[in-house]
Subunit: 441 residues, 2 copies
């Protein structure tokens, strides 16, 4: 449970998945998914790229679950009980788990010992893959960090960039689409200023729990905002089911309903409902919209909320001009107080850059940072080469770690190119590993 | 206090020393001593090399005290109370302290912000310097790791190599010297098999507390063993006072008394006394020899004992053939049980190699590993170049981190060469830093 202290010798069971169908003991490799904030089976099922290249790289696939997510709970049902039990939920502990797991596999799986390991991950898992290569370069020959916003900390990038990208996605996906959304906030404010308005809006949006006060209205706006953000993340070119079941290019579908911003408030909100319905009810089976859920339950939102309140302090802001949202500045004090209220801990906003180097990472090697231009997280990502071996790959038509997904007939050429380049780098790392192994003997 | 957990926000005062007499804001540098297991003023006073090169490198000198040593006690007088209070005494916490201190200095000392920092340290401090460069390469452009036994873990080197080097030092320092010591153990055993023998030996060795039982005899042998080990570490070419006040080449002086192994047991032990007296009573002021102290009190032996029982698990062994000691195999189980008895913790012998890479460190850059051939710790050190930028410097006539000591008229040429090579590397790192800084602007 605690790699960094010796007062407790408590252990826990970490879940990991292995596929060795295409693995070759002779000249093979190990692709190691550095699990992030969710159930590992879900990541496993949404990382088809690893499965697609397994044969070519003669690779064993390993998917390691991140502690405090899925079934890898250090204190079972008590894991989220209080800050004492949560104390071991950090990226450093997770990286150490990965290191020990790789050591364990190399020791126990015959033939794995002298094979190169490559770390792969998407989103927070991509940050972990990159950081793992940075901190444990003796464990992995390289890392593919897909959609990894390692610079979404402190003032490394402007706090507004994330929401600007979300806005751009909607702007590009249909005429007046982002403008309709921009106007919706005032419409909501005006409509909900009266009791009957609250009631009407609750009905119009088919909310499972009706709005009763101004706090509910704030919650509503946050929920709608998060919906647009999530759509930007999963704006994939084909029908998919990552955060929710969705049609191909879902923002385009959403924007079909948001063509006209110059309508009455009620009409605008009816349109917003249609748009939300694309995200929450693509199946057509949903009876009402539930504001307490915005994405798959496979994500561990509780654990992530704690991590965001401790290490993963990502400043976000909006100004309503460069983005389609209500203006919100980044308020660390308020954020910290909220964290203290919810978890009894306070964030340390500069810790991640102290630990992982911020923008000063050029002494590391063999990391691919891939980003999709549609993905709001690309704003905090590495989108230009840092050195010859810290390379950036951008996918103009890509949303959140599209490159990690399975090959699809509707994939744009840019992601096919990205994947093939990624495979080429990985093959080079593997080749170099075996070359230096031969030199030693 | 805890960089790796958020359950406590407790802080403590870390002591550090700064000298800026020769520091230049324009083109200067920062030499950062990564403090080890002792009072930082003592290390500061025994690291003359930094003072000697300050002017040439236009350097600010910083000496950072390691937590749990000197005055940097996280829980004041309670710091060593139990395993709960000791829980934050690890190398990882210490490295994080250094990282935060450097950040603090760069933020608060005008002119320091855009200057290259170089980590330096000796012994455990040398390991920390190397590890700091490995784990925080964004913080330091390079590291001088002097007499740093980073491979004295697990089975990276044979467990007997340390004592073999101690033995070789005595063998080389006078005829029959190591042989006399080898025979002394049996002589002690024979002499102490009777009550009068115990009494006689206590008198002969001028022990402050007389030997009363076989446990005392074991303690005596351990104490004598440690004395020979310490002499090997500080076998400097000139009069010095590191672990104890000593003459130049102290082992040669010791060996003057150990020329003849073919004498009676009492005579041999009288000779051993004379030899010990060189180490414990060079001043001539000591009335009796105290078995409870073997070295300066500036070293934090309590803290180190805990560290050795947790992370710093160094296997040592002797066989009595390749070395001059009684045979002792390395027994992890016994060691672990002793640790549990003393501290309530158990060692994790493979953790350090998991964390810091063991012999697989070639992806790092800009570390100088210097070792003296007389130094028993060189057995666990890096004594051959790993790559072009992970370089080894050996000093044939050097004991424990002789290169870090101040220039001295009696310095052998080999250490002068080592120091000048070290300075050359450091200047190159500084030059490269400023070159890449200019490229950015």
């Amino acid at each position: 449970v605690d790699h960094f202290g010796f007062n407790t010798d408590k252990t826990f069971k970490q879940r990991y998945l292995i596929a060795d169908k295409h693995w070759k003991k002779d000249g093979g490799s190990i692709l190691f998914y550095t699990g992030n904030e969710g159930d590992i089976t879900w990541f496993c099922n949404n990382t088809g790229f690893m499965w697609d290249m397994a044969e070519e790289l003669k690779a064993m696939l390993v998917f390691a679950e991140h502690r405090y997510y899925g079934e890898s709970l250090p204190f079972g049902a008590n894991s989220f009980k209080d800050s004492t039990h949560l104390n071991f939920l950090t990226s450093e502990q997770a990286l150490a788990d990965f290191a020990k797991l790789i050591k364990h596999l190399k020791r126990t799986v015959p033939g794995a010992k002298n094979q190169p390991v490559i770390a792969l991950g998407g989103s927070y898992g991509g940050m972990l893959a990159a950081w793992f290569r940075m901190k444990y370069p003796h464990m992995v020959v390289g890392a593919l960090a897909s959609s990894a916003p390692i610079w979404q900390f402190e003032d490394l990038v402007p706090c507004g960039v994330f929401m600007e990208i979300v806005t751009a996605d909607f702007r590009k996906s249909g005429p007046n689409c982002s403008e309709s959304i921009r106007r919706s906030w005032d419409a909501i404010r005006r409509l909900t200023s009266t009791g009957p308005g609250l009631h009407w809006l609750s009905e119009a949006l088919r909310l499972c729990s009706p709005l009763t006060n101004s706090q509910d209205v704030e919650h509503l706006k946050d929920w709608i905002t998060e919906t647009w953000v999530n759509l930007a993340m999963v704006d994939y070119p084909y029908e998919s089911n990552f955060l929710q079941p969705l049609p191909a290019w879902p923002i385009k579908v959403v924007c079909q309903y948001l063509k006209n911003p110059n309508v009455s408030d009620p009409q605008l909100l009816e349109n917003i409902f249609q748009a939300l319905n694309v995200y929450y009810n693509y199946s057509g089976q949903v009876k009402c919209l539930n504001m307490s859920e915005t994405a798959t339950r496979s994500l561990g939102s509780l654990g992530w909320s704690y991590q965001a309140c401790t290490e993963m302090v990502m400043p976000f802001c909006t100004n309503g001009i460069d983005d389609m949202f209500e203006p919100h500045s980044w308020n660390l004090k308020e954020f910290s107080d909220d964290c203290f209220k919810q978890w009894g801990v306070r964030p340390r906003p500069s810790w991640i850059t102290t630990m992982y180097g911020g923008k000063n990472i050029s002494s590391h090697t063999n990391i691919i940072f891939s980003n999709g231009d549609l993905d709001p997280w690309s704003g905090g990502g590495v989108t230009e080469n840092v050195t010859d071996t810290l390379v950036a790959i951008t996918i103009p038509e890509g949303a959140h770690h599209l490159d990690l997904r399975a090959n699809n007939a509707f994939d744009p050429t840019s992601v096919l190119l990205a994947r093939s380049l990624e495979v080429r780098y990985m093959k080079q790392w593997i080749k170099n590993f075996y070359a230096s192994l031969r030199k030693k003997h």
